[in-house]
Symmetry: D2
Subunit: 255 residues, 4 copies
Amino acid sequence: MTVRLGVTGATGRMGREVIAAATSHVDCEVVFAVNRNPTDEAVDGIEIESASEFDSLLVDREPTVVIDFTGPESAVEYAEGCADAGVAFVTGTTGFDDDGREALEAASEDVAVLHAPNFARGVQALLNVVGEAVRNLPGYDVELVETHHNAKRDAPSGTANRLLSEIEANGNFTERTHGRDGEAPREEGEIGVHALRAGDITGEHEILLAGNHEEVRLTHRAEDRGVFAAGAVDAAIWIAGQKAGSYDFADVIAE
Amino acid sequence: MTVRLGVTGATGRMGREVIAAATSHVDCEVVFAVNRNPTDEAVDGIEIESASEFDSLLVDREPTVVIDFTGPESAVEYAEGCADAGVAFVTGTTGFDDDGREALEAASEDVAVLHAPNFARGVQALLNVVGEAVRNLPGYDVELVETHHNAKRDAPSGTANRLLSEIEANGNFTERTHGRDGEAPREEGEIGVHALRAGDITGEHEILLAGNHEEVRLTHRAEDRGVFAAGAVDAAIWIAGQKAGSYDFADVIAE
Amino acid sequence: MTVRLGVTGATGRMGREVIAAATSHVDCEVVFAVNRNPTDEAVDGIEIESASEFDSLLVDREPTVVIDFTGPESAVEYAEGCADAGVAFVTGTTGFDDDGREALEAASEDVAVLHAPNFARGVQALLNVVGEAVRNLPGYDVELVETHHNAKRDAPSGTANRLLSEIEANGNFTERTHGRDGEAPREEGEIGVHALRAGDITGEHEILLAGNHEEVRLTHRAEDRGVFAAGAVDAAIWIAGQKAGSYDFADVIAE
Amino acid sequence: MTVRLGVTGATGRMGREVIAAATSHVDCEVVFAVNRNPTDEAVDGIEIESASEFDSLLVDREPTVVIDFTGPESAVEYAEGCADAGVAFVTGTTGFDDDGREALEAASEDVAVLHAPNFARGVQALLNVVGEAVRNLPGYDVELVETHHNAKRDAPSGTANRLLSEIEANGNFTERTHGRDGEAPREEGEIGVHALRAGDITGEHEILLAGNHEEVRLTHRAEDRGVFAAGAVDAAIWIAGQKAGSYDFADVIAE
């Protein structure tokens, strides 16, 4: 059964990637795409319509799921529209405040809602195994290296922080160290966190566990934004069969 | 409580490493070390005695565990001596035939016996997580690269084969390919297996999972033989508290 | 001074990348873009015109350089048009036969012509340093690993072959080995060549030199096709100031 | 012709490695080994004599070269003894003050003296090529990652600093940044320097150059201290044929 998708933020960087991923996926089709500021230029053959038409498009085109990468206010409005229309909602939008999160929660009482900060399946896989690796190697030193393009302004990355939380939940770690210079001996319980910024690198994360004359490295690398779009489409196809409720990307992978 | 160790094959490469690892470990002490051809030269301050004294040393020095890296015939004799004396037995010897395996099994009715082809804790950690990673990334291509010193004659390594079995048990893989040259398109279900041989590299294994615009890499590297000795000592300390039976290295890690 | 560019094969994968790279580069502008089968859809705001208009566009729009990623027959026609019009010609087209190469050579008597199989500056940098690394490490074992997406049908890659030629020109190597399985001891003078095929990886090449308890690795990775387009644009800007003759990408880097 | 070697600091960590490397090298033999505090235990079959016998051993055993890994005061005394006896001197001792350096310089008027902070041939190879790589990739971002065992107290490593100097001499770099945390955008001309400390890793250095949708990585890894001993022995064999003067390890590699 083909899953019918609506796409918001359709002319943004992630919206375009979602349309590209969805139109090339055999199990779904894009039945509409909207943007606040629609353009005449189609995206991968999909006409861009005005966001003001969103509610009537939900009725007319009968999507099963809407995929949203916009801003927190827009996302809440789209979620509420979907809840009213009985359409599932997948969002990778970030930056929700408490009100926003509550609104998503409320929508999830009517329809299936999935919110994820990162739709890379491989990141989820790493999150799923890093804890066991840490538990298997007690007393080993842990260092994390993350590498991103030179325009990224904050450090460490959100994904690095999620990996660090998972590591810390599975071992005796007391401190994160960002950079060593001069007299800087390694302290017991310290995790070294290193943020490289260079070129156009989409995103790479490496966890090093070393001790006992050996090293284990767990590494993830995103080639380009396509990985996040592909994961969002996977999530949409998965959520099409779910009942109302709040989901995250780990649920998709667990199947 | 300090674990009292006997060491066999004490002047061999692994025997020396075991003595070094054990004498520097706070929780154990070496109470004797034997070799078929004893030498006058002590190893890390431990006197080397004749293998012909093994049975009387078991009685006089009261070891809790014997660690053995010798050959399959010697190992069986040492195991039988330990079974008679009520001393646990940890062996990393390889190449046992059916008779040898049966003899180890028989010894394990009287005492705790642990036999492992590889005492690197990190290899065990990788074996423990690779299956979940493969299940989390269905349809991703898998390639394995293993790198060893230039004197290794066989390929792929035993550890590579164990990793491959674990990968295959968790996904739809039908074939292992060793090398591509000329017209060599990747086939569905194929795992590429690549054996690099170079310099003095003790051993490195990398599993690459790629698909969907992303890559996950799981890598293990042994710095030197010390890792195997350290793992054998860990195993000996662990087995000191176990009842008679047959164990492997995964049991040590699971604690 | 802004370099005025014409682009051929404008709706192909590389043509689109060239237009994207050129329109975002401060030192050049795209004055026309042609394709055999023109479409109504503009590429990055550049109108696509018919290849049949090529000769008159050379006159009317006065480009300084044409960048071409098409097929060998088309490329020869475009080169001849450029030679007649006094416009420099940069081509990344592959698969020329002897006649094609002679036609490019003939064109280079009238205008500057640059032909390169790979416009990644980093590949050229690696080609420029690998020889010295090999000479500095006599007797070290060399292995080459190249990784590409799972749709690449041939192995090893053209870039791998160029790196191998450079390595062989600087050391005593007698044989390339593609894959080791079973009893496969490393032979003196052997270079191991390993072709990984997985996922969507654009292209990675790694040269390992190991011996004497140490390893040197020289690695190149292309993030996406943009690197080749960017290199072609760099080459076009460079060639704008050159006199008639035949050039390759190493000349661009050498400046 | 076999080169006759004397070894100082013979029971120290590096002294032992030098004896191991020299006794297994076909082109040299160890004719004496001394230590301030001699022990009864031989090292690889070589008897350890008292440092007080050094001058008479130079006469009686007729070494061609002495290899020294001791402390700065001892090294100066040994160098002066060698200068008097007409024996070449190779030292990897660090921490010389101005007086010490002058004393080595004075010795080099009588005999060939080679002083090097790092005898890894691969490090020298990297130093020899990194400048060209940087010049070939103008405007690319540079980051350096160095990884050492968890007992190393200072950062970055001496080898990292030498690589950084070489990089800076070949590009427009204005600043070294050690660690990024929080709002930390990459600045023009910045080199990120990252010191990982973990486990027993002997030493790894990686230079990343990224830009233009591509990456080049140049990496060195020492397996163990044996690499430094092997390099010192190579240097001793090389210097055996040189006239009086001051040399460094790059001279050995250049041949």
